[in-house]
């Protein structure tokens, strides 16, 4: 059994390749095509999902450095979408202060606010 040296870090893709395959197969269904026409007025671009899947399987097969870089680019794109922040409103760092306060206390606070 081959054990990696303890100093090496084994890199694994963030998403299993099956994710891209699943999305690609949904993209090519009739329902999604119609939905894309209904929402955007045009056919969906499914080629990108297929390319992502191929990049992922290429790495799984060859484990080469170029395949890894390609896959990193693909994942970067998806993760950027995941962490996209809407510029319309300022972000919160912590949740709202009164989120967990019991309702009665909230009502009292509201009444005090109205009276003042």
């Amino acid at each position: 059994m081959i054990m990696a040296a303890s100093s090496e870090q084994i890199w694994k893709p963030y998403y299993p390749c099956d994710y891209y395959k699943q999305e690609y197969s949904d993209c090519t269904t009739v329902g999604h095509r119609f939905h894309s026409y209904y929402v955007y007025g045009e056919k969906p671009e499914c080629g990108q999902w297929k390319k992502d899947y191929e990049a992922c399987t290429a790495w799984m097969k060859t484990k080469s450095e170029e395949a890894k870089q390609e896959l990193l680019k693909v994942e970067d794109r998806h993760l950027q979408q995941k962490y996209y922040v809407n510029p319309v409103w300022p972000r919160r760092v912590t949740p709202p202060k009164d989120w967990y306060l019991p309702v009665e206390e909230m009502r009292q606070k509201q009444k005090l606010q109205q009276q003042s």
Binding site: E23, F34, Y38, Y84, R91, R92, P95, D98, S116
Partner: protein, 266 residues
């Protein structure tokens, strides 16, 4: 992009319409946002709280007679609302995804604290109360969709400093996202409501219309102000799909979005 100018007959939707709204905002025309100040707090009637007339009363006051009332034959019966709420919270993937997204941002939601079933005015099917941080559900049908819509408001409130009271653009942005992602404008829904005036890009028209109407109803502002607000934030907010990765058309899309974000852990 969107057919923003197309005007459908905004029309009297029937009272079973599922036009939802974020509750409690002010009727000011300007878009600028400033720090919310405690002095000069607007009156409760201006904030849209009058649409939710069951809010201040206790359960006993609302339920004057659970047997004799005509409305209780329908989904406006309180225990039915609570049952549907429980089922939706446990099983619907849209709802569960949003709850998980909010947990990630630090706002867990508890059924008895953050959700409330109570009678509302006929114009609204539900609301989000940013002061009490509660979702108000008016016991109509389509619980899942209303819940998703309101949870999107709650999610926005949780992850950003949304100024519900003073900034029309913030409200419009949240309404666009909620109409876009909750299935309010799904093809089958629009077909059933006989609102389809064309298929191509109708989703965008529907979202625009719903967002405008919601902003108008809840902020008590004019049509033009609402339209201006919606148009100004349309591009950024229509394309902000958090926590989904694309505009969901069915439960499978929601489950796949959950897979992308949380590895099915919803």
């Amino acid at each position: 992009m969107a057919h923003a100018g197309e005007n459908h007959a905004a029309g009297s939707e029937p009272s079973t319409s599922n036009q939802t709204s974020a509750s409690a905002q002010d009727a000011q025309a300007e878009f600028f946002d400033y720090e919310k100040s405690d002095d000069g707090a607007p009156k409760r009637e201006d904030l849209g709280y009058d649409l939710f007339h069951g809010r201040d009363k206790t359960y006993r006051e609302n339920m004057t007679s659970p047997y004799g009332k005509f409305e209780n034959l329908f989904d406006t019966y309180h225990p039915r609302c609570k049952t549907k709420l429980t089922v939706a919270l446990k099983s619907n993937p849209f709802v569960k995804l949003l709850l998980r997204a909010m947990e990630e941002s630090g706002c867990s939601m508890y059924k008895d604290r953050h959700f409330s079933c109570e009678p509302c005015s006929y114009q609204v099917a539900g609301g989000f109360d940013p002061q009490a941080n509660q979702n108000i559900i008016s016991s109509q049908g389509m619980m899942n969709r209303v819940l998703t819509h309101e949870l999107i408001h709650a999610f926005d409130h949780c992850r950003g400093k949304v100024d519900w009271y003073n900034n029309l653009q913030h409200v419009a942005c949240s309404e666009i996202r909620a109409a876009n992602l909750s299935g309010d404008c799904s093809f089958s829904g629009e077909l059933r409501r006989l609102q389809l005036k064309g298929v191509k890009k109708h989703h965008q028209t529907c979202v625009w219309q719903r967002a405008k109407d919601s902003v108008k109803v809840v902020r008590n502002c004019t049509d033009e102000e609402a339209a201006r607000a919606v148009d100004s934030v349309w591009d950024t907010c229509f394309n902000d799909l958090a926590p989904f990765h694309k505009i969901p058309r069915n439960k499978k899309d929601a489950i796949r979005a959950a897979r992308f974000r949380y590895d099915y852990d919803i």
